[in-house]
């Protein structure tokens, strides 16, 4: 959903950059449209606030947005939120690094080396069909219910998108460019750096963004299994004490984390793939 929107926004700004100077009218229209698109979400929040304030929806089922923000403020001040957030982020970081790193290494090996392709790709393609969140019971038997469970869930979620896109990115590289690099005297290592890596980068970024999305989802599921800390734990604990505002707050934090990571990745992508903007401008 957010991916589609992002692409549309990117195209619009790209067109604007290439347009002739006297394009003030379309620009105003885009700005107006942006405001119009913000209208309905704002309206929803207002209605939400109204129905909960007036008691139409009981506070225990759904607290007002202002109450959720209040809870966030309170927990941020006493350090609870920060502590849980840090624990969640640590799990996500370790899981993403392990899963993504492994995906990159194996994807590159399968993409670059025929033997690697024959040995690695078939089992990965088969394992890909397993819904990794369905592995929770098995993972509990294997690694217990502690930290390793959460981390391995995130790692599993991140592994497949990175692997598949690294593999596809490398395979998709124009063989003729590799050949041209050879005639320029580039060694195998130099070809990897100057041709294969930049050529696979768009695909790698796509894999990374999908890995982050899958990673957050895995974290949400993992943190609901016997966690002692983390945003998920905070939500489960709040549910026991019927603090619905904290439960909704947790959801909000998860959403913001996903949004933020995607935003950062998109900026990094735009920087690293500046050469593609040229493609669009012409």
């Amino acid at each position: 959903m957010s991916v589609t929107q992002a692409t549309a926004a990117g195209t619009v700004s790209g067109l604007r950059g290439a347009a002739v100077p006297d394009s003030a009218r379309p620009r105003r229209r885009t700005a107006a449209r942006r405001w119009r698109r913000a209208l309905s979400p704002l309206l929803i929040v207002l209605v939400w606030e109204a129905v909960t304030r007036t008691g139409l929806v009981p506070d225990s089922k759904l607290p007002a947005p202002s109450a959720v923000l209040g809870a966030g403020w309170r927990l941020a001040l006493d350090g609870t939120l920060g502590g849980h957030l840090l624990d969640s982020l640590t799990r996500a970081a370790i899981g993403l690094a392990v899963g993504g790193g492994l995906g990159l290494v194996l994807g590159a090996a399968a993409g670059l080396i025929r033997l690697g392709d024959d040995l690695i790709d078939p089992p990965v393609q088969m394992a890909r069909m397993l819904p990794h969140l369905g592995l929770v019971p098995l993972l509990i038997i294997w690694v217990g219910i502690g930290e390793p469970l959460k981390i391995s869930l995130v790692a599993l979620g991140a592994f497949f998108p990175v692997y598949l896109n690294a593999y596809a990115g490398i395979r998709g590289i124009d063989e003729r460019l590799v050949e041209a690099a050879r005639t320029c005297g580039l060694s195998a290592l130099a070809r990897l750096r100057h041709v294969v890596l930049p050529g696979a980068l768009p695909s790698l970024f796509l894999g990374l963004r999908l890995a982050f999305a899958a990673g957050w989802l895995s974290l949400v599921v993992g943190e609901q299994v016997n966690a002692q800390s983390g945003i998920g734990f905070m939500m489960m604990e709040a549910r026991e004490f019927s603090q619905t505002d904290v439960v909704v707050l947790g959801l909000l934090v998860y959403a913001l984390l996903g949004l933020l990571s995607d935003f950062v990745l998109r900026i990094a992508e735009r920087r690293a793939l500046a050469w593609r903007r040229g493609l669009r401008a012409t």
Binding site: R176, A180, G185, G278
Partner: protein, 253 residues
């Protein structure tokens, strides 16, 4: 697999009896499955000599050029090169993720690389576009960058596979003039694969015709420079080559 040797001049002199050669190929053979594309090609390009390679589509010109460029590991025969070799392909083959200057400098080492790159780009008339992305260039400009990328290596032999085939007629004429000028300045030898008999006649010192997997004709072109269609001898040679390629020449040729 084709044996590749990089030899020194004296060996080649002795081997060919032709004076210094930049490349000597003997007995090149290449099959794809059951189809034999090259069936014993022998070829010599002398230092500073421009040789055009003509042949109908699918006759194996690109295959031959790739072998000479060292890009074909599965061919049989012997290739001896003497000096630096650079290649310009039919498509520009620039790295889309590298700016023009970085494309030209690809694989070069040394402190003077920026100056050499700038000089090569200036020679093809693109001194202003060093910071551009390949996607921002026109077809002719891209191909000029590809020529600069080859030129900056100071090649002794330039292998050109229909380098101007994809360009419009006007741009092609300009590129032919550019190649002519660069060749006079730098004195490199060239093997120019082309479909265009006129191009071969304008640029080459010698024209080879590849047919049935062997060099069927080796025609020296002794026309004086600058060459043009209306110069004496041009249309006779043109008619001869076209007939040899199986195309009946038009009467007013």
């Amino acid at each position: 697999m084709a044996t590749r040797t990089e030899s020194d001049v004296t060996d080649l002199d002795a081997a060919t009896g032709r004076g210094a050669a930049v490349v000597v190929a003997t007995g090149l053979r290449r099959t794809f499955g059951a189809a034999t594309v090259l069936n014993g090609v022998d070829l010599v390009v002398g230092r500073g000599e421009v040789v055009a390679l003509l042949g109908s589509s699918g006759s194996g010109k690109s295959t031959l050029l790739r072998i000479l460029a060292g890009l074909d590991a599965e061919a049989d025969g012997e290739v001896t090169t003497n000096g630096r070799v650079a290649v310009v392909f039919q498509e520009h083959r620039l790295m889309p993720w590298k700016r023009v200057a970085d494309n030209v400098a690809l694989g070069l080492r040394g402190a003077d690389v920026p100056e050499r790159t700038a000089a090569a780009l200036a020679e093809v008339g693109l001194a202003e576009r060093t910071r551009a992305w390949p996607a921002e260039l026109s077809g002719g400009q891209s191909q000029r960058v590809a020529v600069a990328r080859a030129l900056v290596r100071q090649p002794d032999l330039l292998l050109l596979d229909e380098p101007f085939g994809a360009l419009d007629a006007l741009t092609r004429l300009k590129m032919q003039a550019l190649l002519q000028r660069l060749r006079l300045e730098h004195g490199f030898a060239a093997l120019l694969v082309t479909h265009d008999v006129d191009e071969a006649l304008l640029l080459a010192d010698r024209i080879l015709i590849l047919d049935n997997g062997v060099i069927a004709q080796d025609v020296p072109v002794t026309l004086a420079h600058p060459r043009a269609h209306d110069r004496p001898g041009f249309s006779e040679l043109r008619r001869h080559l076209l007939a040899r390629l199986g195309v009946p020449a038009d009467p007013d040729g």
